[in-house]
């Protein structure tokens, strides 16, 4: 059961909670100039009141936390370190909402998307990955494009984390891309999907398209290998 409490000192008496609640949980006591929880049993935990409340005065216990999927670890880290009471850590939220299961669910769907794409576009599969990667490079929100390949690597590591853990080693025009973390790999192993399967081809080209667009180069795959811990690709950098 959900219980609701109102911090009366923080409340600025706007009555927006009364207006917004779809199930009319609150009523406004104009003598006290404060909202009251009139029908607590009607609350179904949508948290609209909590979102609209200008002074964060409404607390619910027993309402489900929103899904952690869309949370950004950079932001949750700040929130957890503001010396504020009982911060919910990303790990807490992740375990409460089954992040691992959700990741697995997405991996399965991605694998089937890969297979279907291969059937439809055949030899054009790498181009699909490349184009998607190039489009990603222009669509992620950031103020300034990277100045060179090194900066592009740095940005890629940040922008692909935490689902992918990337490492780059460059030796003049030869580049080694090491994919240390990959959230689909567990499934690839389990389902015996080989390196160079549809999804790998798509992902690698996606990454190449993205890096190429950002650094104004073109990356061409030479070899690929997979070990117990990581997958890696050797790439030739072609300057445009």
């Amino acid at each position: 059961m959900i219980t609701i409490s109102i911090d009366e000192k923080a409340c600025v008496s706007c009555s927006l909670c009364v207006d917004i609640c779809p199930t009319k949980v609150f009523s406004f006591n104009s003598v006290k100039d404060l909202p009251e929880v009139a029908l607590p049993k009607e609350c179904f935990g949508c948290l609209s009141c909590s979102e609209i409340c200008p002074s964060d005065a409404i607390q619910h216990t027993g309402a489900a936390l929103s899904s952690c999927f869309h949370h950004d670890t950079y932001c949750t880290n700040i929130v957890s370190k503001l010396a504020v009471s009982e911060p919910a850590s990303f790990e807490d939220i992740a375990s409460a909402t089954g992040l691992d299961e959700a990741m697995r669910d997405i991996s399965v769907r991605l694998l089937s998307v890969g297979t279907v794409l291969k059937d439809v576009v055949g030899a054009g599969l790498p181009s699909v990955g490349l184009m998607a990667g190039r489009s990603l490079a222009t669509q992620l929100p950031r103020y300034r494009p990277p100045k060179n390949l090194e900066e592009a690597f740095e940005l890629a590591i940040k922008e692909f984390a935490p689902a992918w853990g990337l490492e780059f080693k460059q030796d003049s025009d030869n580049l080694k891309v090491c994919v240390k973390e990959c959230f689909v790999r567990g499934l690839c192993k389990q389902e015996n999907i080989s390196l160079g399967g549809e999804l790998c081809v798509l992902f690698f080209n996606y990454l190449s398209g993205y890096l190429g667009k950002m650094s104004k180069t073109q990356l061409k795959l030479v070899t690929a290998e997979r070990s117990a811990e990581s997958c890696s690709y050797e790439v030739k950098i072609m300057h445009r």
Binding site: P54, H71, I78, V84
Partner: protein
């Protein structure tokens, strides 16, 4: 034994250091438990001595900032990002929208009050290309935004570091400390460019004036609305905005204003977008703001990204 504190200022305005000194009697109380081993505003210590707590003011703007920050991090156990500049980039975050050569040019040559033709590039430490919050360079243990944080929160935060059982500080927005009442109102239009309103008892939003109190973390005890000026958001975004990618300053203010006054939400959002350099001034350089899918500061300000 007393805990030791070392402080450093990077690209800030030194206001945060003044706020530490502003602890007054509280500082004396605090001094019973702590000892300052480095604090540029009070003592002449150029080295970076070891300390239990490191307090860093300001954003990373120049090469010097980066080096000083790394030195601090290597010498202190707990690092506090102190003030909005350190936490979110602060006002100098606006540098994100311009090349640093343009910034130098405007500050020293082309600005309306300048007649000089030279920039101090010979002996000055060069600016970096971008302004970043300090956690983009080193890991941070405690974030204490505020421009500057009110001494009440400084003392509470330092106590919270020294004693895990000490009371935590509030995570609520500025409105929670504001003495004005939010009321429904009719026949109100959006007052563009206004920072104040006639009725001192009633919330600015109810009177058609944009106040950022509900979207700003309370690290100040709400002095501005209490004294007649709308909040400009100097402590950085409220926790819901930092935490939830889909929530944003302009949309939340617009929604509340709309529910109170009936003013069209797009009126409010477009007004805020047109003045994005003002309304987003304090956290512009933080990924917590610029990575939001709906925040397009480059576009709103007419600065074009060079990515194509």
């Amino acid at each position: 034994m007393k805990a030791t504190i070392a402080t450093e200022w990077l690209s800030g305005c030194s206001g945060c250091h003044v706020a530490v000194v502003d602890l007054h009697e509280k500082l004396l109380g605090l001094l019973e438990n702590v000892e300052f081993v480095r604090i540029p505003v009070l003592m002449d210590e150029k080295d970076y001595p070891e300390a239990d707590i490191g307090i860093v003011e300001g954003a990373v703007r120049s090469e010097h900032d980066r080096v000083a920050l790394k030195k601090m991090r290597s010498k202190v156990k707990t690092l506090i990002a102190f003030g909005t500049c350190a936490v979110y980039g602060g006002p100098s975050g606006i540098g994100w929208l311009h090349e640093s050569s343009d910034v130098m040019n405007c500050a020293y040559r082309s600005g309306p009050t300048n007649s000089g033709t030279e920039s101090p590039d010979m002996n000055a430490v060069p600016l970096e290309e971008c302004v970043v919050p300090i956690d983009e360079v080193v890991p941070v243990d405690i974030y204490l935004p505020g421009c500057p944080p009110h001494p009440y929160f400084i003392a509470a935060a330092i106590k919270a570091v020294l004693d895990p059982c000490a009371p935590r500080i509030t995570g609520k927005p500025v409105c929670s400390d504001c003495t004005r009442k939010m009321r429904k109102s009719e026949n109100i239009t959006l007052k563009r460019g206004e920072l104040t309103a006639e009725d001192q008892e009633i919330c600015f939003l109810s009177q058609g004036v944009v106040c950022l109190g509900s979207v700003t973390l309370n690290r100040c005890l709400a002095p501005c609305p209490k004294r007649g000026t709308a909040c400009s958001g100097c402590a950085g975004p409220s926790l819901d905005i930092v935490n939830e990618p889909q929530l944003d300053i302009r949309t939340l203010v617009a929604k509340r204003m709309n529910m109170l006054t009936g003013i069209d939400t797009t009126d409010v959002t477009s007004y805020i977008e047109q003045n994005a350099k003002t309304f987003y001034a304090y956290a512009l350089a933080s990924p917590a703001i610029y990575k939001k899918p709906t925040v397009e500061i480059m576009e709103w300000t007419g600065e074009t990204t060079k990515l194509n």
